[in-house]
Amino acid sequence: MNTLLIITGLGVLCLLLEILNFRKGIVPFTVVGLLVALGVTMNDYGLQKGFYGNMIVVNNFSVAFSSIFIVLAILLISMSDDFYRREHAKISDFVAIKVFMLAGAVAMVSFGNLSMFFLGIEVLSISLYILAASNRMNVRSNEAGMKYFLLGSFASGIILFGICLIYGAMGTFDIAEISELSSSAELPDWFFIGIVLLTIGMLFKIAAVPFHFWAPDVYEGSPALTTSIMSTLAKIVAIATFYKLLTGMNAQLSVAYEWVLLSVSIASMTLGNIMALRQENVKRMLAFSGIAHAGYMLMAFLNLANSASVLWYYAAAYALAGVAAFAVVLNVCRDKQDENIYNFNGFGKKHPVMAALLTGALLSMAGIPVFAGFFAKFGLFMHAINAGYLVVVIAAVINSIISVGYYFKLILAMYTKDALDPVENPKPIYVVVAAIALLLNLAMGLFPSLVNNLI
């Protein structure tokens, strides 16, 4: 619970530091602050308690997810200094918005009340709208922000409408009370309509097919650091929240509903992977790959009751690999016009270390053993088999094969093509971030028992 206070306070402090003309220290200060928040969060592990009249409920689920969000935020924010070097005067705004976004994310996984959930999702979304459009002079960035804002607020409206219907059916916003009522009483139809509307809104935030149309354009147009936040942190926040909503309200999901989720899952992974094959822009490729990964993660929603740890593991493995990959992409395309794949030609000879890090991250996403991505995929497959949905496992296996095609396209470009540009020294911060993210990913893969019983 203190986590939320610390993070929010940290965001305010970031803004204050600018007034004190202390811009150089903002990023290190924030990182230290977030580390404190991480420690405080982990200290809450094992606690099961509601705060503020059950507005916030701390349990192992919220602690585990909040911790991984904070870790990702630390990695992402520490790259800000170099990324915003041209607009360093405004660094406090960029960092503070990210910190506020993290506060929204933490609220989204620890809500005990639907109004708190909506607050969280709005804080997160509005921060992301701003970040998407934060490159003011760039038309593409403005377009991305506008598009994301229009479609995102529409989705927020649908979510709000869903919450209203649920309130109408249950007479309360409190998750625990809804959970009790939903298992006992005869339920009015609009409770289920409310759930469906919530589902639609959340699928939009996750960027699952058929609500994915905004994702590629927004990802491509946004500044690269924002894209990396959206495709790693924001994506797993949305997935975790969706999971918490469905399990928290204890709605008895019908078989038809599970089949809808199943179709969305299969459609997302298939479409995401096939579209990713055709992309020349690395950011766009990773966006489509993110859609595919959302599809995999939706497999955890079949037989909801005991898949929290499987979902956490997958989300963490995916996001850490994603951050490692994006850190390298950010460095490679630092002074480039775009993120086209030819920028990576000959990278293996120029910077063997960074190329190896990117290769590792991509191998993890493709699900090659030893990296956590493999164990994550395997856990999900096993969960789906246990739940009795072999179809989706077969689809996921075929999709994993397809995904090798585009991940290896990038690896091939790095190792077999000749470089276009002369060698530049990599910025140490990107190497450090990529290395830490990949090491965490590897550690999860080598010692799965450390983390897979957290929830």
């Binding site: 053993p369 395997f378 077999t416 897979n452």
Partner: protein, 483 residues
């Protein structure tokens, strides 16, 4: 001391080769691989002295995974094959100009580590990890150090990777299913499972997808010839000498004991899969103009016969398959070394542009001749022992199987001797041809010594693998599934 020491040594070899820099990498790799060979020899001696050399550590409680390494005869025989071929393969690259040598040798050692792990692992999950790990180094070896037009090479190697990766994912799905049934990945638990026939058929087919692509069997072989030709010779040796044995070994270790009912009811079909490879490989080899491709297709024919032997499900078939795996491993490495020597000196791969080498390089000629004779299974060579045992087991199933299988020897003799004639004999070539260097001569001598030793005296290997074969036979044929 247990088998894990060999794995540790091989992995350390990969690290040390990388750290020792381009100049010393080849020597470090050779040294560590010889040490690993020595270690596996010691382990083998311990095994023969009836000590337990297998190990098992708990890796993860939930899901239940053990790092379990087998210490039985079959695994140790394959381990010896791996660690014995590894120094030979490294030795064969001496005197070649290899760019970025530290990565090259490090990848070779790493691949040795992964392949040895595949042969040793007794836990399905760990086994799968090693199986996949072996794919990554060979991908880079073939891609970065291969020959030929960049585009063609890339196409061949990527096809190979996606093909084999696709096959193994089906195996992974099968393991996931088995885990939901048994609650463990341990071989002993999986082989105990009492699965219905339908389940067994699906599991059998999922394994088959992985193994048929790796071995490769017809019609899953399309990646093979191109990759063998494009890869550097060391990579081709790793692929044909050891890696494809992973598939054959896995048939014996995993596929047959876990899904015996499926194997029994469709035995004839799978024997035909193997024999189709024999026929196809031999006929295509007859018409090859490219030396490396010819050897690739001859390898296809040989492994088809091994697979057919394994699928006969009788004792001779299984032990013949193991013998033939080992002998084929040595023979094919020798043949590819000879091909590499010729290609390196004449700078061509076309058989028609070769010829007249004999008068210039008599030592090389006789060594190559012995390798050719060994590969066509001349009596007194190791290959004869293996091939004969397999044919014998096929004969007991159906006479026709043995007759078609026997075509490998007849057609093999024809295309190999014709190739030898065109490549080595004839008018003296204009180009000068240097005779074998010390490292090449040493490699050949070791391979020839092994070929003749086990050709005349195969008993040590037979004794080593007999208990394992017996156990596998028991698992396949025992009515109630007990261990």
């Amino acid at each position: 001391m247990d088998v894990s020491i060999v794995l540790i040594l091989l992995f350390a070899g990969a690290l040390l080769s990388f750290l020792s820099g381009d100049k010393w990498a080849s020597k470090t790799a050779l040294l560590t691989s010889v040490v690993a060979l020595g270690a596996s020899w010691l382990v083998l001696c311990k095994h023969n002295a009836k000590e337990v050399v297998g190990v098992s550590y708990l890796w993860s409680q939930k899901p239940n995974i053990h790092v379990a390494l087998s210490g039985d005869g079959l695994s140790l025989a394959m381990l010896m094959l791996t660690t014995a071929l590894l120094p030979l393969i490294i030795l064969s690259t001496f005197g070649r100009n290899i760019q970025n040598a530290k990565s090259f040798y490090s990848l070779i050692m790493f691949m040795g580590f992964a392949m040895a792990g595949t042969f040793l692992a007794l836990d399905g999950f760990v086994y799968y990890i090693f199986w996949e790990l072996a794919l990554i180094p060979i991908y880079f070896i073939a891609l970065l150090w291969g020959s030929g037009e960049h585009k063609d090479r890339q196409r061949a190697v990527v096809k190979f990777f996606i093909y084999t990766f696709a096959g193994s994912l089906f195996m992974l799905a099968a393991f996931a299913y088995l885990y939901t049934k048994a609650g463990s990945f341990m071989w002993t638990d999986l082989a105990k499972l009492d699965l219905s026939k339908t389940e067994q058929i699906w599991i059998f087919l999922a394994f088959f997808a992985a193994y048929a692509i790796k071995i490769p069997l017809i019609p899953f072989h399309t990646w093979q010839a191109a990759v063998y030709e494009k890869a550097p010779t060391a990579g081709t040796m790793l692929l044909s000498g050891i890696m494809l044995k992973m598939g054959l070994y896995s048939i014996l270790r995993w596929q047959l004991p876990i899904a015996p009912l499926a194997a029994k009811s469709f035995m004839v079909i799978f024997i035909w899969f193997g024999l189709a490879g024999v026929l196809y490989g031999s006929v295509v080899a007859l018409r090859q103009k490219n030396l490396k491709k010819l050897l690739a297709y001859s390898s296809l024919a040989h492994v088809g016969l091994i697979a057919a032997g394994a699928y006969t499900l009788n004792k001779d078939g299984l032990s013949g398959a193991v013998l033939q795996m080992i002998s084929h491993g040595f023979a094919i490495v020798g043949l590819f070394l000879a091909a590499d020597i010729i290609i390196d000196r004449l700078q061509t791969r076309e058989i028609s542009e070769m010829g007249g080498i004999r008068s210039q390089a008599p030592k090389f000629t006789s060594m190559f001749m012995i390798m050719v004779l060994a590969s066509v299974a001349l009596p007194t060579t190791f290959n004869f022992v293996g091939e004969f045992t397999v044919l014998y087991s096929l004969f007991f199933k159906k006479v026709w199987f043995a007759i078609i299988g026997g075509l490998t020897i007849i057609l093999g003799a024809y295309y190999m001797l014709k190739m030898f004639q065109n490549v080595m004999l004839g008018e003296t070539n204009k180009k000068p041809f240097r005779d074998v260097s010390w490292s090449e001569g040493l490699t050949f001598s070791i391979i020839i010594a092994v070929t003749f030793f086990f050709g005349l005296y195969p008993k040590p290997i037979n004794d080593l693998i007999a208990p394992s074969i017996h156990q596998i036979m028991f698992l396949i044929h025992s009515g109630p599934r007990l261990l």
